[in-house]
C-alpha cells in the first residue's frame, strides 16, 4: 500500500509520472503563475523544459511546449520589470519625497 509520502514522492519525481499527468501538472503551474507568482512560472519553465524540448516526442508535448514557453516569457518579463522597478526605486526613492517614504517598508536611518 502506498503511503501519502510515497505518493508525494512519486508525483515529484517527474520521470515516474505519465505524460498525461505531466501536462496536467505543467498546466496547473502555468495557470498558478497568473496569480502574480512569477517564481511558479520560473519553476515550471525549468522543470518541464527537458520534457517539452529535449525528450522524445509524445502527444502532449505540443501543448506542454506552449505552456513552458509562455511561462518562460512571463517570468523573463517579470524579471525585467522587477529589475527596472527596483533600480528606479533605489535611485529615486529619496527624491520622490513623501511618496518615496510612503511606499517604503523600511526607511533607512541616517540617510535621506
Amino acid at each position: 500500500m502506498l503511503t501519502q509520502l510515497d505518493l508525494l514522492e512519486q508525483s515529484l519525481d517527474l520521470s515516474k509520472v505519465s505524460n498525461e499527468e505531466k501536462l496536467k501538472i505543467c498546466r496547473k503551474y502555468y495557470l498558478a503563475g497568473f496569480a502574480l507568482l512569477p517564481f511558479v512560472w520560473a519553476i515550471n519553465a525549468v522543470w518541464f523544459f527537458k520534457y517539452a524540448f529535449k525528450s522524445t516526442e509524445f502527444p502532449e508535448q505540443k501543448k506542454m511546449r506552449s505552456y513552458v514557453l509562455q511561462s518562460l516569457v512571463g517570468c523573463v518579463v517579470w524579471t525585467i520589470a522587477l529589475i527596472i522597478w527596483i533600480s528606479l526605486y533605489q535611485i529615486n526613492r529619496a527624491s520622490w519625497g513623501l511618496i518615496g517614504d510612503q511606499i517604503s517598508f523600511i526607511i533607512p536611518l541616517n540617510r535621506i
Binding site: 529619496a94 519625497g97 513623501l98 517614504d101 510612503q102 517604503s104 517598508f105 523600511i106 526607511i107 536611518l109 541616517n110 540617510r111 535621506i112
Partner: protein, 810 residues
C-alpha cells in the same frame, strides 16, 4: 518487580539525602577519582561563582548516580530475583546514568564555553580597545531646508590620531600625512574656526577630538575667542534680511563668529572632558605616531594609534523630511527621527488685567534665557543670557515696589523671559503669532487679551557682562533706524534713561545712528506689526559688535567673561563687583520706567538690590544648589537642585508638550513668580488656582531663617509659561522653505551607545592580510582533516562503526 521498586525508592532516598547533605557533599569528591570530574572542576575554578555552583550541583548529582547504580547492582547480586527484573533494573540505572552523564557533559561544556567566550571577548576587547568615557558629542540639527552638525555611520569613523596644536602640525597633516583618514586631537586653544574649516575641507579627516580647556586658566582658551555662531546670528529671521542698507553683510554684530555651528560637518566632533583621558590618548599618540626627523618629518610606520568616534544620528535631510517620517508608522523603524527645538518661555505682568477690562499701556521688558553651542548640554551662557536674566529679575523686583505708581499712571509692565531665541527666535515668534491671533497671554485664561497694538514700548536686555571687566561702564541703546521716527515713546524714554546716569556708575548712550538693531527678539515684534512696527529699545554693552568673543560657545564661561574669574572663591553671600554694576543698570532701567510712566523725578530710595543680582548670577553660573533656587521652588521640586553642583545648561532643548524639560525654564518661571507676585497667607490646601482669576498660585519653599528652616508660602502672581514651539509646526501645510518661522529640529539618536570614543592600535595592511590568510588556511586545514577522519571513521573508531562500513569491511 521488587527490585525495581527498591531501586526506585533507593534513588528517592538518595536524592533526599543529597538534599540534606547539600553543603557537605562537595567534600565527598574524594570518593571518586573520576577523571571527568577532576577535569571539569579545573574548568570551574576559573568560572564566575554562580556557574561554579551550577556545575558543582551537577557533579554532585553525578556522584550520587554512581552510588545509586552501585547499590542497585549490589541488590541484584545479593537477592534472588528474576532475570528480567534484574536486567530491567540495570537498564533503568544505565539509562538514567546516561541521561545524567550527558546532561553533565552538556552543561559543563556549555557553561565553560560561554564563560570562556565572555572572558575572551572582554579580554580581547581590552587587548584591542581603550574606551574614552568622559566625552560630549556634537550632533545633527535641521531646519526646513538643511542639515547641520555632526554624524557618523552606525559603526563610527576610524582615523589615525594626530595631535594638531599649531599651524605647522596642521599643515603637516593636510599636506604630508600619508596615513589618512586622520582623527586630529586638538587642544582647546587651537580649536578655532579656521582650524576646523581647513580640517573638514581637507578630505583627509574622519573626525575631530577636542581636549577641554582648563576653565580656570585663561591661557587655555583660544586667544581670539571661539564663537561657533554666524557672524549675523539668526540672519534668516532678521527683519533686515532684504533691506539693502542694513542687511547682515553690512552690519555683522558677531564678528568673531565662525559659523561652525551651522555647517554640515559630516563627521563627529567630540569634546574630551577628562584631562586624564586626554593624557591617555596623548601617551598612545606619543608612543606610536609622532613624526620623526624635524623639518621633513615622516610618519612612523604602522601600527599607529588610531581612534574610533561614533555619533550615530537617526534623521537626515531636513526638518520637513524627518518630521514627515515621524508620522509614518513603519515596521522595523524607530518611532522618531527628529524632535522640534523648543521649550517654555515665562512671562509675568506687573499687575493682572481681568477679562473684559481694557489693558493699560504695556511696557515690555525682554530677556532671552537660552544659549547654544556645538556640544550637547554645554551652554555655560555667561555672556548671554545669564546677565540679562539677572537684570530682568532685578528690574521686576524693583518695579514691583513701585507698582501702584505705575499702574495709577495708566501703565503696566510685562516681563518676558524668552527661550529658543538662539534658533531663529522660537519663543518670540510663537508669542507674536499668538498675539496676532488674539491668543495672548493664554487662549483660555481669564485675563484680557493682549495684542501687538497694546505694546507701548519694548525694552530688550541684550548682553552686559563686559561691564564687569571694568573696561567700560557704558550701556548703548539701539533703535531701529527705519521705524524709530514714528514713535514718540522712544526719545521720551531715552531722555529719562539718560537722566538716570549721573547718580549711577553707568552711562546710557546712543549706539551709532547708521546701524540696524542687533540680532534681538524685538525684531520679531516689529515684523509682527507690519503696518507701523512697534517701538523698540535694545540695551547692551556693545555698540557695533558684540564685546564677547564667545557668543553661543561652550567656552562662554564666567571665568573667561570676567563675571567670576575664580569660580571657587565666589560666595553666595558676598556680593560680587559685577552684581553691583548690573544692579546699577537695573536701577537705571527701573528709574527710567517709573519716570517715564509717572513723570516724577528720580527717587534714590528705590535702588535695585545688588544681592538679588548676585544671587541670580551665582545660582545660574556657579551652583543651582543655592538659597534663591531653594526659596523659589515648590517643596516637591527641590530635588531638582538638591546636591546639583554643576550649573544647568542654557540650551533650549527639544519641545515636549506640557512639560518643561530644561530646569532653567522652570526656575525662570518660579523666580518671576517670586519677584513679581504677592505673598498670601493661604495654606497649602487653599493654594490652588482659582478658575475665575487671571492670576496663578505658586506654593513655594519660602525664605530661609537663620536656623535653616523655611516657611512655605503661597505666592499669587501672573507668572505663567508660554510654550516656545514654532508656529511652523502647528500651521497645516506650512511651507518649510519659506523661512517665515523657525523650523529647527534635532536628530534623535539611539538610547544606547550613540556616542563613543575608543582608541586602538591600527596594524599595518600586511599584518591584517597575514591574519586573514592564516585564518582561512586554518579553516581549510580543519575541513580537510575532518573529511579525512570521517572517511576513515571505521578504522579509527571501530566500536562506532556503522552497518555500511561493516558490510564494506566484510
Amino acid at each position: 518487580m521488587t527490585i525495581c521498586t527498591k531501586a526506585f525508592i533507593n534513588f528517592l532516598q538518595l536524592v533526599d539525602i543529597w538534599r540534606l547533605l547539600h553543603p557537605s557533599v562537595t567534600n565527598s569528591s574524594s570518593v571518586t577519582n573520576s577523571s571527568s570530574v577532576t577535569n571539569s572542576s579545573s574548568v570551574t575554578n576559573s568560572l564566575p561563582n554562580s556557574q561554579v555552583d551550577d556545575q558543582c550541583s551537577i557533579i554532585k548529582l553525578f556522584l550520587f548516580y554512581r552510588l545509586h547504580v552501585t547499590r542497585v547492582w549490589e541488590a541484584t547480586r545479593t537477592q534472588p530475583i528474576l532475570q528480567w527484573e534484574k536486567s530491567s533494573a540495570v537498564c533503568m540505572a544505565i539509562v538514567s546514568g546516561i541521561w545524567f552523564r550527558s546532561c553533565l557533559y552538556l552543561l559543563c561544556v556549555v557553561a565553560a564555553t560561554r564563560a570562556a567566550i565572555d572572558r575572551s571577548q572582554e579580554a580581547t576587547y581590552k587587548l584591542i580597545y581603550e574606551d574614552i568615557k568622559t566625552i560630549v558629542g556634537c550632533y545633527r540639527r535641521f531646519n526646513g531646508t538643511h542639515e547641520i552638525g555632526c554624524t557618523t555611520g552606525m559603526n563610527g569613523n576610524v582615523g589615525v590620531i594626530h595631535y594638531v596644536n599649531s599651524t605647522e602640525s596642521l599643515d603637516w597633516l593636510i599636506n604630508s600625512g600619508s596615513h589618512d583618514p586622520y582623527i586630529p586631537l586638538i587642544p582647546s586653544t587651537f580649536f578655532v574656526g579656521s582650524t576646523i574649516k581647513r580640517l573638514v575641507n581637507s578630505g583627509k579627516v574622519n573626525g575631530i577630538m577636542v581636549a577641554q580647556a582648563d576653565l580656570s586658566d585663561v591661557q587655555s582658551y583660544p586667544p581670539n575667542g571661539f564663537s561657533p555662531e554666524l557672524k549675523c546670528p539668526n540672519a534668516e529671521s532678521s527683519m533686515y534680511k532684504d533691506d539693502p542698507k542694513y542687511s547682515c553683510e553690512k552690519h555683522q554684530f558677531n564678528l568673531d563668529g565662525n559659523g561652525i555651528l551651522f555647517e554640515d560637518l559630516k563627521m563627529p566632533v567630540m569634546l574630551l572632558k577628562s584631562q586624564e583621558e586626554v593624557d591617555k590618548v596623548m601617551d598612545c599618540y606619543l608612543a606610536h605616531n609622532v613624526p620623526s626627523g624635524g623639518d621633513n618629518a615622516s610618519e612612523p610606520s604602522l601600527p599607529l594609534c588610531a581612534a574610533e568616534l561614533k555619533a550615530f544620528m537617526h534623521a537626515a535631510g531636513n526638518s520637513e523630511i524627518c518630521l514627515r517620517r515621524n508620522n509614518l508608522i513603519r515596521n522595523f523603524s524607530p518611532s522618531q527621527y527628529c524632535q522640534e527645538l523648543g521649550g517654555y518661555s515665562s512671562l509675568a505682568f506687573l499687575k493682572e488685567t481681568p477679562k473684559d477690562t481694557s489693558r493699560n499701556k504695556t511696557i515690555v521688558i525682554i530677556s532671552r534665557t537660552d544659549s547654544s553651542s556645538l556640544f550637547e548640554m554645554m551652554q555655560p551662557g555667561a555672556s548671554s543670557p545669564a546677565a540679562s536674566m539677572a537684570i530682568l529679575l532685578s528690574v521686576a523686583e524693583t518695579l514691583k515696589r513701585r507698582r501702584d505708581e505705575i499702574l495709577s499712571a495708566g501703565y503696566n509692565v510685562l516681563f518676558l523671559a524668552l527661550t529658543g531665541e538662539s534658533f531663529d527666535y522660537i519663543g518670540s515668534q510663537k508669542l507674536v503669532y499668538d498675539m496676532q491671533r488674539d491668543f495672548f497671554p493664554n487662549k483660555t485664561s481669564n485675563s484680557a487679551r493682549m495684542n501687538l497694538a497694546d505694546v507701548h514700548l519694548i525694552i530688550e536686555l541684550s548682553q552686559f557682562v563686559q561691564l564687569g571687566r571694568g573696561l567700560s561702564s557704558k550701556i548703548f541703546y539701539h533703535t531701529d533706524p527705519n521705524t524709530k521716527s514714528s514713535f514718540q515713546s522712544i526719545p521720551d524714554f531715552i531722555t529719562k534713561l539718560e537722566a538716570t546716569s549721573p547718580s549711577l556708575n553707568v552711562v546710557f548712550g546712543a549706539a551709532s545712528a547708521d546701524q540696524p538693531l542687533p540680532p534681538s527678539s524685538s525684531q520679531v515684534f516689529i515684523r509682527g506689526l507690519e503696518s507701523t512696527g512697534v517701538p523698540v529699545i535694545v540695551l547692551a554693552d556693545y555698540n557695533a559688535k558684540f564685546k564677547t568673543e564667545y557668543y553661543n560657545s561652550y567656552l562662554d564661561t564666567p571665568e573667561i567673561q570676567g563675571v567670576f574669574p575664580n569660580r571657587s572663591a565666589v560666595q553666595y553671600n558676598e556680593t560680587s563687583d559685577i552684581a553691583k554694576v548690573l544692579a546699577n543698570v537695573s536701577t537705571g532701567i527701573s528709574d527710567a520706567v517709573v519716570m517715564y510712566t509717572t513723570n516724577v523725578s528720580s527717587d534714590s530710595s528705590y535702588k535695585a538690590d545688588s544681592d538679588t543680582v548676585h544671587h541670580v548670577l551665582y545660582c545660574l553660573l556657579i551652583s543651582p544648589d543655592c538659597d534663591l533656587f531653594h526659596t523659589v521652588l515648590a517643596p516637591k521640586d527641590v530635588s531638582v537642585v538638591n546636591g546639583t553642583t554643576t550649573p544647568f545648561p542654557f540650551y533650549v532643548s527639544v519641545f515636549s508638550a506640557g512639560v518643561s524639560t530644561q530646569h532653567i525654564q522652570k526656575l525662570m518661571l518660579q523666580m518671576l513668580a517670586y519677584f513679581t507676585g504677592d505673598e498670601t497667607d493661604l495654606s497649602e490646601e487653599d493654594c490652588v488656582d482659582n478658575s475665575s482669576s487671571p492670576t496663578s498660585t505658586f506654593w513655594i519653599n519660602g525664605r530661609s531663617f537663620a536656623n535653616g528652616t523655611r516657611q512655605n508660602v503661597c505666592i499669587r502672581s501672573t507668572a505663567q509659561y508660554h510654550a516656545a514651539s514654532s508656529p511652523a509646526f502647528e500651521i497645516e501645510g506650512y511651507n518649510f522653505s519659506s523661512g517665515l518661522y523657525s523650523t529647527w529640529t534635532e536628530s534623535v539618536w539611539p538610547n544606547v551607545d550613540a556616542f563613543h570614543v575608543r582608541i586602538f592600535l591600527k596594524p599595518s595592511p600586511e599584518v591584517e592580510l597575514a591574519s586573514m590568510v592564516a585564518g582561512i588556511t586554518l579553516f581549510i586545514v580543519a575541513a580537510i582533516v575532518a573529511v579525512l577522519v570521517q572517511r576513515r571513521a571505521a578504522i579509527l573508531f571501530p566500536s562506532h562503526s556503522t552497518p555500511e562500513t561493516l558490510t564494506t569491511g566484510s
